[in-house]
Amino acid sequence: MNRIPFSYRLGMVALVLFALASPASAQETPRMGGVLKVASIGEPPTLDIPMSTATLVYEIMWHVNESLFTYDKGFNPVPLLAESYTVTDKGLKYTINLRRAVKFHNGKEMSSADVVPSLKRWGRVASVGRVLWKYVESVDAKDPYTVVISMKQPSTSLIYGLSEAHAAVYPKESIEAAGDGQLKEFIGTGPYRFVEHRPDRHIKLARFKDYSARAEPANGFGGKRTAYFDEILFLTVPETAVRLAGVETGEYHHAMFIKQDSYERIKSLPALESRIVKPRGWAVAVLNHKSPVMGQKKIRQAFQAALDMEPIMVAGFGAREFYRLDPSLFFPEQPWHSTASAKLYNQHDKDKARRLLKEAGYAAQPLRWVTTREYEFMYKNSLVAKQQLEEVGFTVDLQVVDWATLNNRTEKPELWEVFSTGFVFSADPANHVALRCTFQGWWCNEEKERLLAELQGENDVKKRKAIIERIQTVFYEDVGSVKLGDYFTLDAARRELRGDFRTAPRLYFWNSWLAR
C-alpha cells in the first residue's frame, strides 16, 4: 500500500479546515442587522391592506400587519395570531382562541377587543371579506382571548379568507379613527413596524423589538418569523432596466419583476441569483357572458377550440422556465390540481372551431378584445390569439388601453366581448376569481353555483377534490373563461441575501438576512 506523503496529508487537513471556515458554511447562521433594499415596481395604491386586492400592497404591508391565520407550505390554513380554533354546531360556530401577550407596535396587547372590529371592517371593506360576510351572522368577543364567529350557513372559505393578508388585525383605536375611510395609521403586530412612506421614494419598515413570534419552526408563511434586518426599504423603481442595473451594482438587494428575457443575463452574473416566482398566476381571456355574441355557448366553445396555447404563451413569456401549459384551475403545487376535461384545453382544432361558428350562425360580429401593454404579456398573448381566431373566421377588434381604462371599461358589459388579465394564486378553491359570478364576465352557471355551494359546506378533503373536478368540467364545457396557461415571473436578488424569501407566490422578508 502506498503511503500518503505527510505534506499531502497536511494539505488535505488544511483544505478541510478551510472548507469548514468558508462562507459557504457560515451562511447557515443567520446574521442580525443591515438595511435591506428592495426595488419594487411602483407605488402601492394604498397601504390599507383590506381596501385593496393588489398583490404589491400585501407584499409590503404583511410585514407590518398580521392576520389570524396564514398558509403553510402546502397552502393549507395554519394559525398565526390565533392559537387554535374549533368548529361546532355543524359548521355554524367558529371559536377562535387568540395567542396571549402579542403586542401591537404601539405597545398595547392584542385582544379580542381589537380582533372583532378588525374582522367587522374586513367584512365591510375587503373584496373577499364582503363575499364571505354574507355567510356570517355575528362576530363576538367571548372573553379577551376568545372570538366567536356565528354563521348563517357553513362556509369552508371562512378560514381561507382569514388566512389572507387582507384579513389583517389592527388596534381598535386605528379602526375607529379610520371611520368609513382609509386607515390613517399603520399599526400591527408584525415582525417589522411601519416607519414612513415617502411617495415615489420609499416605504421604510424597521424591526419590531417586542415581536412575539410563534414557537413552531417556519413552514410556508406560517411558523416562527424572525426579523433579521434593522430596516427594510421598499424603493419605488418603475423602470425595469434600472431595477436590474441597481441590483447588479449592489444598490438594491432584491428587484421585483425583472423582464423574463433578462434571465440568461442574471444567470451569467456571479453576484446575482434569479428567483422564479412559481406559481404566480394564470393568463386568461375573460369572456363576457352578458354580451349578445359571447353569451352564446357555441361561440365560446369555438373560441376555446381555436386556440393553440404554446405560441400564445411563448409570445407572452419567452423562455420555457416562465410558463406551463396546464388545464387546471388550480396549480400543481396546490392540493386541488386536476386534469378534468383536459382535452378541452389547448385544442387548436380549427375545423371544430369553424363548425361551431357555423352552427352558432356567427355573422362576423367583431369581438372587442380589451387588452393592455402595461402588462406586456397580456398584449402579446392577445396579439397571437387574435391571429389564430381570425384564421377560423372570428373578427377581432383588439383595443389596447392602459390598465386603469381596462378596469373601467370591463365593468360595463356593453363595451366588450373579451379582455386580458391574469388570475393570481388563490388558495381557497371555493372563492377563485374565475368562478365568481360577480366578477367582470359574469359567468353565472346554475350547475357551477350549486357545486360551489356544496363545496362551501364540505370539509372532507377527498370529497372536496371531487367537487372541484366537477366544477372544472363545467368550466370547460360551458367555457366560463379561457385559460391560456400558467405563468411565472422573475425577480433578481443578490447572493448575500439569504433565507426564505424565495417562497412563492408571495414575497416576504422575515426569516431572511444579509450575509457579510
Binding site: 411602483g42 394604498t46 385593496s52 393588489a54 411617495p199 441597481g246 444598490e251 386603469a404 378596469n407
Partner: protein
C-alpha cells in the same frame, strides 16, 4: 412699462381658466378612476362603486367642476386621493429635485450649446463647423431616455463611477446631490444643447453678414472683439428665446428622465398621478406648470429689454 407688466400678469388669469377647465375635462373623460385603482384588479364592481361614492367621484361632472373652481379661487388645489395630503404640499416636496435637475440640464445645454454655436459660426464651412453640427444632429436625434439608459449601463454598471439611479436630497450635501443628478442632467441637457448650438450658429451667421460687422472689421478691431463684443450681443436674442423655451421643455422632459433615473420630482408625481387617476394632483400640477411656462415667457421678454435697448413694450 408698469402697465405692460400688469397687463401681462392679468392675461395669465384667462389662460389659467382655460387650462384648468381643459385639464379637468380631459382627465375626467379618460376612462378609469382612482377607485378602481385602489380596489385593485380582483375587486368586484360593487366594491369599486362603493369606494367611488366614498371618494365623492360619483357626483355629476359639472358639480365636481364647480367645486374645483371654488377651491381654486380660494387658492386651494385640493387634496391628493392617494397621498392624502394637500396637492400644494406634495408639489413643494417634489419641487427641489425637478428644479435642480432642470437647472443643471439648462446649464449644461447652455454651456455646451452656445460656445459650440459660436465656434461653428466663426469657422463656418470648415471641418470644425461640420463636426460640431454633425454632433448636434446626433444629439437631436437620440431620445433622452435612451441616452439615459446607455449612461446607466456605462457609468453605473460597467465603470461603477456613478449611482445607477435614485436621488440624494440637497440637505445631504452638495456633492452627493450633484453626483446623483449628473447623469440625468447630462442626458436631459445634451439634446437641448444641440438645439441651442444650431440656433446660435444660424443667428450668429446672420449677424456676421451685417454691415456693422464689416464696419467694425474695417475699423481694424480684432476678430475676437468683433465676434464676442459686437456680433454676439445681437445674435444672442433668438438663443435666449430658445433657452427660455428649453427650460420649460426640460420641465416636461424631466417626466421621462425622472422615471428612468428614479428621481422623485414633479415629473414622477404627474406620471404616477395619471396612471392612478389622482385627479386633484394632475389638475394641480398641470396648472402650476402652465403658470411656470407663462412666467418664464414673461421673464424672457423682460430680459430682451435689457439686452436690446431698441425693444420697447407698450
Amino acid at each position: 412699462m408698469k402697465i405692460y407688466l400688469l397687463r401681462r400678469v392679468l392675461a395669465v388669469i384667462p389662460v389659467m381658466l382655460v387650462v384648468a377647465t381643459v385639464t379637468f375635462l380631459l382627465i375626467h373623460l379618460a376612462p378609469g378612476d382612482p377607485a378602481s385603482i385602489i380596489a385593485g384588479p380582483d375587486a368586484a364592481p360593487g366594491d369599486v362603486a362603493r369606494l367611488r361614492h366614498n371618494l365623492g367621484l360619483d357626483e355629476p361632472l359639472p358639480a365636481q367642476l364647480l367645486r374645483w373652481y371654488g377651491r381654486l379661487l380660494r387658492g386651494d388645489l385640493g387634496d391628493s386621493i392617494f397621498l392624502r395630503r394637500p396637492v400644494l404640499e406634495a408639489v413643494q416636496e417634489r419641487l427641489e429635485p425637478t428644479l435642480l435637475l432642470t437647472t443643471w440640464a439648462t446649464l449644461i445645454a447652455v454651456l455646451l450649446g452656445v460656445p459650440a454655436g459660436i465656434i461653428s459660426a466663426r469657422y463656418h464651412n470648415t471641418a470644425i463647423d461640420q463636426s460640431f453640427m454633425g454632433l448636434a444632429l446626433l444629439g437631436l436625434s437620440v431620445p433622452n431616455f435612451l441616452l439615459g439608459l446607455l449612461m446607466i449601463l456605462v457609468f453605473g454598471v460597467w465603470l461603477r463611477w456613478l449611482p445607477v439611479a435614485g436621488y440624494v436630497p440637497l440637505d445631504m450635501g452638495l456633492w452627493p446631490n450633484a453626483r446623483s443628478l449628473l447623469m440625468p442632467s447630462v442626458s436631459l441637457g445634451l439634446v437641448q444643447s444641440a438645439l441651442i448650438a444650431r440656433i446660435t450658429r444660424s443667428s450668429m451667421l446672420d449677424v456676421l453678414r451685417e454691415q456693422y460687422i464689416l464696419a467694425s472689421r474695417a475699423k481694424g478691431l480684432s476678430e475676437r472683439v468683433v465676434v464676442y463684443k459686437h456680433a454676439l450681443k445681437n445674435a444672442i436674442i433668438p438663443t435666449l428665446t430658445v433657452i427660455g423655451i428649453t427650460f420649460a421643455i426640460l420641465v416636461g422632459g424631466a417626466v421621462v428622465i425622472e422615471t428612468v433615473f428614479n428621481i422623485p420630482g414633479l415629473g414622477r408625481l404627474i406620471i404616477s398621478a395619471v396612471l392612478r387617476r389622482d385627479y386633484p394632483v394632475i389638475q394641480g400640477v398641470v396648472l402650476l406648470i402652465a403658470v411656470t411656462y407663462t412666467l418664464i415667457n414673461l421673464m424672457v421678454d423682460l430680459v430682451y429689454l435689457t439686452l436690446d435697448p431698441r425693444i420697447r413694450y407698450q
